[in-house]
Symmetry: C2
Subunit: 339 residues, 2 copies
DNA sequence: AACCATTGTCGAAGCGCTTCGAAAGTGGAC
DNA sequence: GTCCACTTTCGAAGCGCTTCGACAATGGTT
């Protein structure tokens, strides 16, 4: 195991010179620096994480907590965790994974043992217990998502309100007057991330503001296709669909429409809002304002690292503007046979 | 920040006594131990990870590497990573997440900087570059999956051969004579985990051994339902289906059968092999020999921790016997109208 | 009474690195 | 030649913990 001392000897300089040459924290003559770097490479030197952390008071590790409910989709979780991990590497940080019942205790342990320099909180619920904990911990924490009580927290999230408004606006502009939002199941609304509720509220408000008809349906946890069928049965006049739901339900929309001879976009315009694309699956064939991990996670990590390094003042909610992905699923409304 | 020294002072003993009392590595009188524990609790003491690692030469962290191909299902990855993380916690280890292009460099870095005490390798490909790397690293590594060249490696995996044989046997016993395996797409076969190929080979061999007719279909990457339709068109005599495929394709099997009036299990018996259940989604309504992370990951972590602690000798491939989950999708063959 | 083994505790030496203060060297201004 | 400011390098003090060897106290043997 090659240590800094070996490098110092090899380069014919002192230990501290090696440290400064490699970290660049003090001026070292160009020639010496080169000798040190060469020696380090020759020996394959890499500073031991533990020693570096102990002396430097920085572990270069961030923790990620993501509670994995039985009824949430792991695919999205992984996409977020991955995005954070990848972003962290850009800053030369590694990522510790905190999951399940370990969320709270894990955060506490991580902070107390100085295992990590900071924590990224994923899959934030409206009344997330981690919010209160984060306030107590003397450890930088960034939330990807916005808990209801976010006083004193640092949060970053997609601007769901704006995404929803733009979705409604797109449909309205195309002449649609009767819209429906396919939302999440009651269980998710109750417990999980609070954005589905934010979307619902914004949807209703935006529709009302423009004098549009708007209804909301929530699929039951166990059914997927049923909800769309039921909606179309009950309200055959709907010509614009906003989707903010589980991917299974979204997947079922196309077939359900097809089954009753409705084409997209000729007979039905569809826009998805806040849905996370799933790598490895077909992307939804609909216009979308996706909740892409790439939108929030790298920014969250930047923030966290900034706080860790003292460059950034913690606190505040930051909303990322939505990105519109056109897929040709919105078209001007036109008459159609209602059956 | 409370240190061991604070605890020592509070308990009125020396630093080393605190260390021994808390670790139990040397005999400490019951009374002293109690005093130390009380003091530690009173102060909320937790040993700093870095100091512990530096002095103790053990970080209590394991790394998990899982390459995330664009075309693989993240859900399964997350399930495995989670299973490892949870199992690691049982041993008082935390988990570092290594992903993407960082797989190899990450492993190297982790080993060289002693960031982690060991590494769990997930989603193992047949010719996995991490195999060679693992042999070079002076760091305990356990593979969940079996690379073709596994010389000198420690591997653990589901016994796919046996699972496949049992699946075929179940169908054969029920009188089925014409079977089909719905396998993975060519791309997955080529590149990803090698088990789909192992399943295909075993399927053919087992069928041959019993004089059964056997065919294999591989869905194209972009189509899901098509493959089953095509199969049934071409071979209407098939009465037993073995599924070892993407979940989308598996999901499409039921509807496809339904569409041609075939009921499970009356008209078609179905068994899934090596498919990972996805939390949050409906489980497949078929008899199954699942590739459950719970089958392999906890065992892999046990192994790894054993190696780290010197209790276990590394090396060898360990196959976990499959577990049969009955869901009533296998029934005796019977005549049916072929259309 | 002298001896030994056992038990419980302590002191101190590191683990490998960062960082502070100081020393040594250099060159220009006076 | 002296002084100062600057650059470059070094030595040493920790960071908070584990662990080894030593020491003191105890009690049983001879």
């Amino acid at each position: 195991m090659v240590t800094i001392e070996d490098v110092a000897r090899e380069a014919g300089v002192s230990i501290s010179t090696v440290s400064y040459a490699l970290s660049g924290k003090r001026a070292i003559s160009e020639e010496t620096r080169r000798r040190v770097v060469a020696a380090a490479e020759r020996l394959g030197y890499m500073p031991k994480a533990a020693a570096r952390a102990l002396a430097g008071k920085r572990t270069h590790v961030i923790a990620v907590t993501t509670p994995l409910h039985a009824d949430t989709d792991h695919s999205a979780h992984m996409a977020f965790a991955m995005a954070v991990t990848t972003a962290a590497r850009e800053h030369d940080f590694d990522t510790l994974l905190l999951v399940q019942d370990d969320e709270l205790e894990g955060m506490r342990r991580t902070a107390a043992t100085l295992l990590a320099d900071g924590i990224v909180v994923l899959d934030v619920a409206a009344d997330d217990a981690r919010a209160e904990l984060a306030r107590q911990l003397r450890c930088p924490v960034v939330f990807v998502g916005v808990p209801t009580d976010n006083e004193g927290l640092t949060c970053i999230d997609l601007d769901f309100e704006r995404a929803t408004e733009e979705a409604v606006e797109a449909l309205r502009t195309a002449g649609h007057r009767s819209l429906a939002l396919v939302s999440q199941g009651q269980d998710v609304i109750d417990r999980a991330s609070n954005y589905p509720l934010r979307i619902e509220r914004t949807f209703v408000a935006a529709a009302e503001r423009h004098g549009l008809e708007a209804r909301i349906v929530r699929p039951r946890p166990d059914t997927s296709t049923g909800v769309v069928e039921a909606l179309l049965d009950e309200h055959p006049d709907v010509t614009g669909l906003v989707l903010s739901t589980r991917s299974e339900v979204a997947d079922a929309v196309g077939p359900a429409l097809e089954r009753r001879g409705l084409r997209v976009p000729e007979d039905m315009s569809v826009v998805a809002v806040g849905m996370t694309p799933e790598p490895g699956r077909q992307p939804l064939p609909f216009d979308s304002f996706p909740l892409d991990p790439q939108l929030t996670c790298p920014a969250a990590v930047d923030l966290l690292v900034g706080i860790i390094e003292g460059r950034v003042v913690p606190g505040g909610v930051q909303l990322v503007p939505p990105v519109h992905q056109a897929r040709g699923s919105v078209a001007p409304v036109r008459m159609r046979d209602v059956r």
